[in-house]
Symmetry: C2
Subunit: 309 residues, 2 copies
């Protein structure tokens, strides 16, 4: 799957992942109205609204991008119907040949981590039959519990040719509270980065490992160091756009081959129509605004990478 990701990034010239994190505030009135008319003001109605919202954005952007990253929390808040919308979104994106990164940030130990890995990336056996419950291609994982928590995910990835992005340095302001603490003079995130490189060493695709890392765009200097600590790991970079990261901040997350990083934008793309720059599209044409925002983001990153050469 990591080879498919690098190939798709090469073909689209866009190391971009669109974060499908549909907040109700983002969903235009006409979609909400239609969904509530059909299902009422219920969890099912909300789930239908976010699914229709996603579908239009995917239809308008799939040819420009390699991957999407649905944030499962935004679906889980609507209970079981919300998770049905999550699953439908994953399936639909696969039909459009997009790679799906499940932003699930799960992490537990032993058989519990194995159960999460099975549910999201693997195959569950029931009697004589097999199922792929949620069926994402990659998942984000939390490392706080150590190797016991990660290994069951890695095992499933090896078997299924899927991949992980392990949280190393997150994009939020308080990420330093624990992640930046110095241990023998070095911050915790560097130790976690070293572990990611170790865990990924025997999980190699053609050039990159399928065990990657999450490092926030808001910390470019740390990105530069982590890039060197994990040379074979793809870095998923959140925090571009709405959280404050710019194209120029991203340069050090990439290797010299122009690969090795994929940058997420959620609100900046899926709610583009609410920004002044794309207001002309209006709520009716929200998905076309998203397409324009993807094009602008690809150009911004490409410009930054060319300038840095």
């Amino acid at each position: 799957m990591i080879d498919k990701l690098t190939e798709k990034i090469r073909n689209t010239h866009a190391p971009i992942v669109v974060g499908l994190d549909p907040m109700m505030d983002y969903v235009p009135e006409h979609i909400l109205k239609a969904a509530f008319q059909e299902y009422g003001e219920t969890l099912e109605g909300a789930a239908e609204a976010i699914w229709q919202f996603n579908k239009e954005i995917v239809d308008c952007t799939f040819d420009l991008i390699p991957a999407v990253k649905p944030q499962i929390a935004m679906y889980e808040q609507f209970g079981v119907p919300g998770l049905q919308a999550f699953q439908k979104t994953v399936e639909y994106c696969h039909k459009k040949d997009l790679i799906v990164i499940g932003d699930i940030k799960r992490g537990d130990i032993g058989s519990t981590s194995a159960a999460y890995a099975t549910g999201h990336l693997g195959t569950v056996k029931i009697g004589s039959r097999s199922y792929h419950p949620f069926g994402e291609d990659f998942a984000t994982v939390n490392p706080y519990l150590g190797t016991d928590g990660i290994k069951p995910f890695v095992d499933v990835c090896k078997k299924e040719k899927k991949g992980l992005f392990i949280l190393v340095k997150t994009s939020n302001p308080s990420s330093g509270e624990f992640q930046d603490k110095l241990i023998d003079g070095r911050p915790l995130y560097e130790l976690v980065g070293e572990k990611v490189a170790q865990w990924g060493a025997d999980c190699m695709g053609e050039r990159y490992s399928y065990i990657g890392a999450v490092v926030g765009a808001t910390y470019p200097e740390m990105g530069r160091i982590l890039r060197k600590i994990m040379p074979k790991s793809f870095i998923l970079v959140p925090g571009y756009g709405a959280q404050g990261g710019t194209g120029a901040d991203l340069v050090h997350f990439f290797n010299e081959d122009g690969l090795g990083a994929i940058v997420n934008s959620s609100r900046g793309i899926i709610a583009a129509y609410k920004q002044e720059a794309y207001a002309k599209f209006g709520a009716e044409c929200f998905a076309e605004a998203s397409r324009a925002a993807v094009e602008a983001m690809a150009k911004d990153i490409d410009h930054a990478l060319q300038t840095a050469k």
Copy 2:
């Protein structure tokens, strides 16, 4: 909710939480057969089997215990139908007046943590109506992302009178990889423990905060130190029984008032009928074996606490 928990512990004389983590291996043949007959060897069939399994265990133990802790991963591995079984389990336990600790180990930032908190502990507004999607009473949370990740959960808890157990020192062998690293001479888990005490300071019930911590029974010495660092925080203690912790290990997790800790056992109770000690019950009477295992566990802990006095 923390006051209800302490009251129920006092009434039952059992600081015990039964981990409803139904692996398919635990479910007796006759339950599997009936479920597959009705729904086929499908995700729905597996979900029905674990729900029926849970129901019988709850029916046979609810009067002895204050709380249950369903591990959501064991449900999530069966996709949407599995999560329906999770929700049904939560609802059923509430009918039996049990406190439900959702072992979800979620953790993200800002609006994403808020969405998880809403889905599991809170109220989601859809148009003019309100819903409580999964409706647990407590949730376990991962602290790796710092205060930004925890605060949205705390906010929901304040509003809804619910609670958290934040991972501090987990019970697994490799938990020390990051959690034990020394920062200015002190392990990371102590720093996290201090933060838990801070986060919990303005979330007080009668005697205890509703912001608690998770500390593994397998690390009793660390439990003793953390007990002092977080005197007002309830500690959820996994690792008893199957993972190796014994009654004597637990003493230091409690305060002098005999409260402040609640001990989880999953496999040791729900799959008790598979142990030699309870084999006489047989697979047909698996839930009665669970009842006997709860009684033995309560006795073991009570004996340890009395001996320590």
